[in-house]
């Protein structure tokens, strides 16, 4: 009914300030929802991409017990065959073998437990981009013998500089304790200070010389054409070779999988809080508008306007504001996401804390179309639901309100 629409429309303009508040609430709710989800998404995706690209890769192969124990004698059997298999699989983009053992790093000041990662420079740089984390000195392509690259943070703790020597102590494949001195050629800073304190990098061949008579490999990191094919490649490897365990990045880093889930929970929680605030704001404003018009609505009921139409009038008012707010909020939110996904949102102020747990301080929010639509639907639903209560209250107004003495 056109008249009802006109009535609702004019009622909205009756208190432009109040309607603006309602409009602003819808816009803010939508905007906050979209930006929050975008940021959490971006944060998670960046963390995942970073870990995959800098270290974990899409899939890894180990001795079944290596990850739990960390002993150097738990190396990958049939390494050569696996390498050949990987070289001939078109799903594999690149891979790299690592020689790894847990040990102690000793400086004149103190001793720290570290994981010593022996890497093969050419294949490692093809497979991961950990080398981007170098902040001082050079990477392991240095000419210096027994070169080591350690975390900037670890170097600080040990009061070490480039060119200083540290001693690494670890058990070789025959269970014998071995020590060797290494020269610090480079310092790195990854996204996680925790990681920086516990991992050092040396050349695989030099580590192998100390560990065993024949070269051993404890880890193969594999990058695939497509992350989603990780599971099938892993299954193929596991059925093809015995005595090894291949895993996808999700299996390798339960922390990362949990993070993805946590991100989901966080998104739901934050949107819930925003929506709750939105709902209360709308409920309040609508109720205020209603109480002010008790007598007028009483009059409308007295002269014969049906309760169904009164209900429609109130819902139309809420509906018009919701649609206008949702449209404006959507445009604003999309523009914000676009702006920040280009430039990134700099969270430098919180970066200290973020770095501790391995997050970048510049976030590039991302949002799928489905997520946009979900948030839009949620905001519209919440607004209309919040208007239902005032609308039901409206139709229970007694027509006598109009006849009452002033």
């Amino acid at each position: 009914m056109k008249t009802l629409l006109t009535l609702s429309w004019r009622n909205i303009w009756r208190h432009p300030a109040r309607s603006s508040v309602l409009l602003a609430a819808v816009i803010a709710g939508l905007w906050a929802g979209v930006v929050t989800v975008g940021l959490v998404n971006g944060l998670m995706q960046q963390r995942i991409d970073y870990l995959i690209e800098s270290e974990i890769t899409h899939a890894q192969v180990h001795h079944p017990e290596f990850q739990a124990e960390g002993y150097s004698w738990l190396y990958i059997p049939d390494h050569a065959e696996i390498v050949e298999w990987l070289e001939n699989d078109e799903r594999v983009v690149s891979f790299t073998s690592r020689t790894i053992t847990d040990g102690m790093l000793q400086s004149p000041i103190k001793t720290s437990g570290v994981r010593i990662r022996g890497i093969d420079m050419p294949s490692e740089t093809r497979t991961t981009n950990f080398h981007d984390n170098l902040v001082a000195g050079e990477y392991l392509d240095s000419d210096i013998r027994n070169a080591i690259v350690i975390g900037e943070r670890l170097a600080d703790e040990h009061n070490m500089e480039l060119g200083n020597r540290v001693v690494l102590t670890f058990e070789d494949v025959d269970n014998e304790l071995t020590s060797a001195s290494f020269n610090i050629v480079g310092l790195f800073r990854s996204a996680s200070t925790d990681y920086d304190e516990r991992n050092v990098f040396v050349r695989a061949d030099e580590l192998n010389a100390l560990l065993s008579d024949t070269p051993v490999h404890h880890e193969i990191g594999i990058m695939l054409t497509d992350e989603t094919r990780a599971a099938e490649v892993v299954d193929a490897l596991n059925s093809e070779f015995s005595g090894i365990r291949a895993q996808t990045w999700r299996q390798l880093s339960p922390e990362l999988s949990m993070l993805v889930e946590l991100g989901g929970v966080m998104v739901v929680l934050i949107t819930l809080i925003i929506m709750l605030a939105l709902a209360f704001g709308i409920l309040n404003t609508m109720l205020m508008a209603l109480f002010e018009r008790m007598r007028e609505i009483g009059m409308l009921l007295s002269i014969g306007m049906s309760r169904r139409r009164v209900f429609g009038m109130i819902m139309l008012e809420a509906g018009i504001l919701t649609i206008a707010g949702a449209a404006a909020g959507m445009i604003l939110a999309t523009l914000s996401i676009q702006y920040f996904s280009d430039r990134g949102l700099n969270l430098e102020m919180f970066a200290e804390g973020a770095a501790q747990i391995g997050f970048d301080h510049i976030i590039y929010p991302t949002l799928s179309v489905a997520e946009y639509i979900t948030i839009l639907a949620v905001v519209v639903m919440i607004t209309l639901l919040a208007s239902l209560y005032p609308a039901f209250k409206g139709i229970r107004i007694n027509p006598l309100e109009a006849a009452r003495d002033a």
Binding site: T3, E296, M305, L400, A406
Partner: protein
């Protein structure tokens, strides 16, 4: 022809706490074409009686018949529709929709009735001319004087072609000139179109213009007399 008939109408407010017996066994009939004033001191039950007759409230006991239909026992939604089709209302205040113009206010009730657009437009113009507001059709209530607003309310009450019009102290907020002007209009409609009016008032000059004066005291009818309004 009798339009309104009440049977031993009783109304008790707050029956469970502090009972107020606002109406006690009121029996009254209103015939077609009447121009009746309901008088009585404040608190005597005028508003309560009008609300019962208008189907805005339900009696505690007794019945109200409008053209033989028992409005007092109707379901709420049915009563609303019955009011829309049969009864015109003029209240003391809050009569009009503030966001609608005078014309829109008059047209609104006819839209609720689902009348034809063409007819609505013609009738709105005619009615506003009748109440002397032909030149204020597009004014909003806030731009009109109290007297003009009440005239729009009368035009609206008439617009739905009701069986009768109830007006609870329609002149209470008006100065003498505006009050007499409103009465002139109501009287003329009554005389020329046989529109039935029942209005409450405690203004003697308004009472003087009624043809039937019902006096209420303590929720009961004390006097019911026919007078010749032209004698004064």
């Amino acid at each position: 022809m009798t339009i309104v008939r009440t049977e031993k109408l009783c109304k008790v407010y707050n029956p469970d706490t502090v009972p107020v017996h606002a109406l006690n066994n009121v029996c009254i009939e209103v015939d077609e074409g009447e121009f009746t004033a309901l008088r009585g001191p404040s608190g005597s039950g005028k508003t309560t009686l009008l609300n019962m007759i208008g189907g805005l409230d339900k009696p505690t006991e007794g019945k109200v018949f409008i053209d033989g239909h028992e409005i007092s026992s109707m379901k709420d939604s049915k009563r609303i529709d019955f009011r829309l089709q049969n009864i015109g209302f003029v209240f003391q205040h809050y009569n009009l929709i503030p966001v609608f113009t005078a014309a829109e206010n008059v047209a609104f009730i006819m839209m609720l009735q689902g009348r034809d657009k063409q007819e609505i437009r013609k009738r709105t113009d005619k009615l506003l001319d009748q109440v002397g507001l032909g030149d204020r059709k597009d004014a909003r209530p806030a731009q009109l004087s109290g007297g003009q607003q009440q005239r729009v309310a009368v035009a609206r009450a008439l617009a739905s072609e009701p069986r009768f019009i109830l007006a609870d102290e329609p002149t209470a907020n008006l100065d003498t000139e505006a009050a007499m002007n409103l009465l002139d209009i109501m009287e003329k409609m009554n005389r020329e179109q046989n529109i039935t009016f029942v209005f409450s008032t405690h203004d003697q000059r308004v009472i003087d213009r009624a043809r039937r004066v019902v006096t209420m005291v303590d929720g009961a009818i004390d006097q019911d007399e026919i007078q010749d309004p032209d004698k004064t």
